[in-house]
Amino acid sequence: MTITEGQTAVATFTPAELYARILRDEPLFILDVRNEEEFRRSPIEGRANLTTVNIPYFEFIEDEDGATARVPAGREILVVCAKEGSSQYVAGVLQERGYRARYLEGGYVSWGNFYDVRDVVTAHWGRIVQIARPARGDLSFAVISGGKAALIDPMRHVQVYRDVVAEAGATLTHIFDTHVHADHISGGPALAQETGATYYVHAYDAIHPIDMLPAVIAYTHVQEGDRFEIGAVTITARWFPGHTLGQVNYRLDAPDSRSALFTGDGIFLRSFGRPDLGGKGEAWTPILHRSITERLPRMADDDTLILPAHFSTLDEGDANGVFAAPFAEVRATNDALRPRDEAEFTSYVLSHLPVFPPEYVEIKRVNIGLVTPCDGTANELELGKNICALSNA
């Protein structure tokens, strides 16, 4: 094709459209034209019917015929790159050759920063809203009741939370981080500053575990048993050390006897939070074992809805992309929670630890205010899916 700065019109698709089609498990073909290293670090993942092939864009520049021959004819091709430019180029090449090709608006960056909002619970007393960032496997929540709103683990792009609270006609009063996150940048401190809502985190997490430096952000210490009224619901802090020393689960009790437990990185639906990200895995593993065996049964009933901060694969959620399950079901299906004594638990943890992403040390610094990255650096730090869970492999 003729290469010009201004390309001819090539059709696009949005992250929202992609996610909706992934949830419906439509047969999709993604042609990822990033370099191999970036592709391996952060592929777009879906369900069974998603096929992804990596052919870097420069292979189309080097050998257009050869690269194109590797793209299946007769089906829609969704082209993805890092920041849009080269996927537009490749989609243009394919379109000129008769392919039905479209490219992702904003590239992988926009997929990584795409949020999906949907209700988990709606009742006469209010709502629990799930705010997910599908590319990262990150989940956060809003509790709305009686004109008040609380957020649990809000992420960096705070506008989505402003919108959820505003659309509900509510006032944001409480922001809870279950712990100081290592995999993504919290939106909690920024939202607290602009709204006047109180930002809660356990003081044990306000010290960087590797630097041993204290937080310079404003926060209010939350501890075991602290209770908060959000309209008609009560939220109780339940200390669950192990993933971090200050990990806190938040239990919600509603007037209709329904309950939910926001477990952060305490437990997930199919796994639990790895105890080594503070660099103290050996010391923290027994603490996590006690939290799972002794503390967890005291903070969740069989029908308590478990609402974690992460998922590892989309099939942990339902067809609508809601990641929630009653505790009895989680206990029965989450192999990582199977009863084990401390020695068995330790060897389970050691044999299921994924790589330790080096950027996680830096992200913790950001989250307690020791470092302030620009937007581009924040995108790079947060590239790819979270690796906070033990591996199921």
Partner: protein, 83 residues
């Protein structure tokens, strides 16, 4: 870094895929054996040039460097036409 080069291609401000598109074209016009110095502002060009030369027909990546010029980060690539 003191790498001898014959020509310079300025792709400052150009975004992916243009630094690589223009470099390919410039290498095609370069006499065999000569070295092209490419000056880019696109950070992604560093990994992309490394990937490109693995499959490229007649290009060798002699070196890459990052230099700071008046507060602007420049990514400089030295490409040799080998055939």
């Amino acid at each position: 870094m003191s790498i001898a080069y014959d020509q310079t291609l300025d792709v400052k401000g150009a975004r992916c895929p243009m630094p690589l598109v223009k470099s390919r074209k410039a290498v095609n016009e370069l006499p065999v054996g000569q070295v092209l110095r490419v000056v880019a502002t696109d950070r992604g060009s560093v990994a992309d040039f490394q990937g490109w030369v693995k499959t490229a027909r007649n290009v060798e990546l002699l070196a890459q460097e990052t230099v700071n010029e008046g507060g602007q980060e420049l990514f400089v690539h030295y490409l040799k036409r080998t055939a």
